[in-house]
Symmetry: C2
Subunit: 353 residues, 2 copies
């Protein structure tokens, strides 16, 4: 089934006549349109894409299987026309994206029963096509190359921000549109912060440095983390490093199809708990990546989603001890028929610069 | 009046007991918090800021005048407690930011009358403090420096994307966090696209190149456009350039306090219409900038907002002729007691590289 067919099956399941697609990721996924303004409507038999004069040329090139409408006034007025034309009785909208203010406007201007729904297209996005996986592989290659490069750049005296900028510059020169999120460069005691976005802190001898970054390539992202040492680290930090590495390798070895997110999360978590670091591992093991850097499926203690072939996820256990430091190691993998295939390949033995 | 006092006046005007602040720009504006997760509630007599364990240290440093609460479970559960504790009867929420899905959760979990409101804090943000203007000036200086720099980089054979990346790298090295939006580099026939985000097109001799970009500095943005020529341009392009330049200088000369957005927009528009380019000027003259790259007040044919001292806006007339090319010239200004002060200072005489 192609994407439109899958979506139509979802419309049937939810007993609605049509879906109004406004979330930019879902819009891109369904239509191929990469511009920043537009909406799509999909019903059982029809599919239109509405955009303004700035983007109609682009839409004609990118959008297949949808009739393209150039909006005269607002997008919403075109939606209203379609609702009447197609005799839509129940129109679903993306309730995790549409604001309450937009909903009010829908109520006022659309002669239809509005049905707030969640996750219809996100569910289809869970399973990547081979074409999507190819693109994600390139995003991963760019991140791997950036990691190799940054090892030649990091030394005592450079700031976290300089490292973050250098990663950005390098990845863009390799064809990335941008970083896939605000790059984390957390050095020294800051490495104990799971979300330590780069600051003007100077990297010093003896620091652990956690680098968490990724590239956007052709709309798809990568997400990789490595922790390295600048100068000889303390014995405690080395111990932490090795236990996280073991946990991550164990998870990579075991994660595969048929397992729930809870089961996938438990692998590294149980190991770290056994080693006395359960409390220090305060986040989940991983998350899906694709058009977004955080999408389904989650590898977390709450996720009953079963892993299936062609899902792409991160595997990123970490331990964080305030006042001492932290370690996280993250790879991207694609679930296969029998286990998983690694998409990021950067070295994981402790690197001491 | 400080920001909290101004907001409390708005609560009174709208006859609500409290406002739940979740829009990240408004949250930052009201609290000073620069992290990515948190919510604030402001009532007549109280003000709290709720965030999770990752951000409480940061919040303690940044957030003044608000009691800081570290959430135990979800933010919404803390909001529910506050609603009960403060005996709030009517709670306003930011309807242009809150999704319909979040609204449903509010309805389920909050024992209060919900009031969807729009633009309360945005209205306060219209008038910049001297401190904010100082920061915007730095963002403008970075953009000016980047324009000077890029003139040494552009030559026939480089691609638009290389130019865009070089602007990005240069501005970050000057202290910018990032570009303030996807940089527009529109060369040759592409210069007729008002929104021509950089592509892999190679810049050629005879091309007009429109560069529209800006820096984020300390949370605030700049936004500047210059059109330059690479090699001798055609007589028609030169004519277009001069008419846009005249229109822009005229607008800069006349825009000042007491004028509506409509009146400010009319200056360049009437001039261009008189010169036969009215149809070719398909967008509005300008928009406010601050924490966001598009905020109030608009300088457009629809905006009845009266300009006041310390508002910061762009002035950016342009003309676009499909099949020929386009020109736009944009500066940032702050409205003063008597007129305006320019914040961007890059050359505007036609530059031929
Ligand atoms: Mn991750
Ligand atoms: Mn602008």
């Amino acid at each position: 089934m192609n994407r439109l067919e899958k979506l139509r099956k979802e419309l049937e399941n939810h007993q609605v006549d049509a879906l109004l697609i406004t979330n930019p990721y879902n819009r891109r996924y369904m239509t191929g349109f990469t511009g920043t303004s537009g909406a799509a409507i999909v019903s059982k038999n029809d599919a239109v894409f509405i955009t303004d004069f700035r983007y109609t040329e682009q839409a004609k090139k990118q959008v297949k299987n949808f009739r393209i409408i150039q909006q005269e006034a607002s997008i919403l007025k075109e939606v209203a026309k379609i609702v009447d034309e197609w005799k839509i009785k129940t129109l679903a909208f993306e309730k995790d994206h549409v604001t309450y203010g937009e909903y009010e406007a829908y109520q006022k201007q659309l002669n239809v029963e509005l049905v707030p729904l969640s996750g219809l297209i996100e569910k289809i996005r869970l399973i990547k096509t081979d074409e999507e996986i190819k693109i994600i592989k390139v995003a991963c290659e760019i991140a791997d190359a950036a990691f190799s490069h940054i090892l030649t750049f990091i030394k005592p005296g450079v700031t976290e921000l300089e490292v973050s900028n250098e990663l950005e510059f390098f990845m863009r020169k390799q064809g990335a549109t941008s970083s896939s999120f605000d790059t984390i460069v957390a050095s020294g005691l800051r490495s104990a912060l799971p979300h330590g976005v780069a600051t003007d802190k100077v990297i010093e001898k003896g620091d652990f440095v956690t680098l968490d970054f990724g590239a956007v390539y052709n709309g798809y992202v990568s997400d990789i983390t490595r922790t390295i040492a600048v100068g000889q680290p303390s014995a405690k930090l080395v111990e932490m490093y090795n236990v996280v590495l073991e946990a991550q390798l164990l998870a990579l070895e075991k994660i595969g199809p048929g397992m729930t997110g809870i089961e996938a999360d438990k692998i590294a978590r149980d190991f770290l708990t056994e080693k006395g670091y359960g409390e220090a591992f305060g986040h989940s093991t991983g998350h899906g990546i694709g058009l977004e850097v955080h999408e389904g499926p989650a590898l977390s203690f709450r996720s009953e989603q079963v892993l299936e072939p062609n899902m792409v996820v991160t595997v990123e256990p970490g331990v964080y001890l305030p006042g001492i430091g932290g370690v996280r190691i993250e790879d991207d993998i694609v679930i296969t028929g029998t286990g998983n295939e690694r998409l990021t390949h950067s070295d994981k033995e402790l690197i001491i610069l």
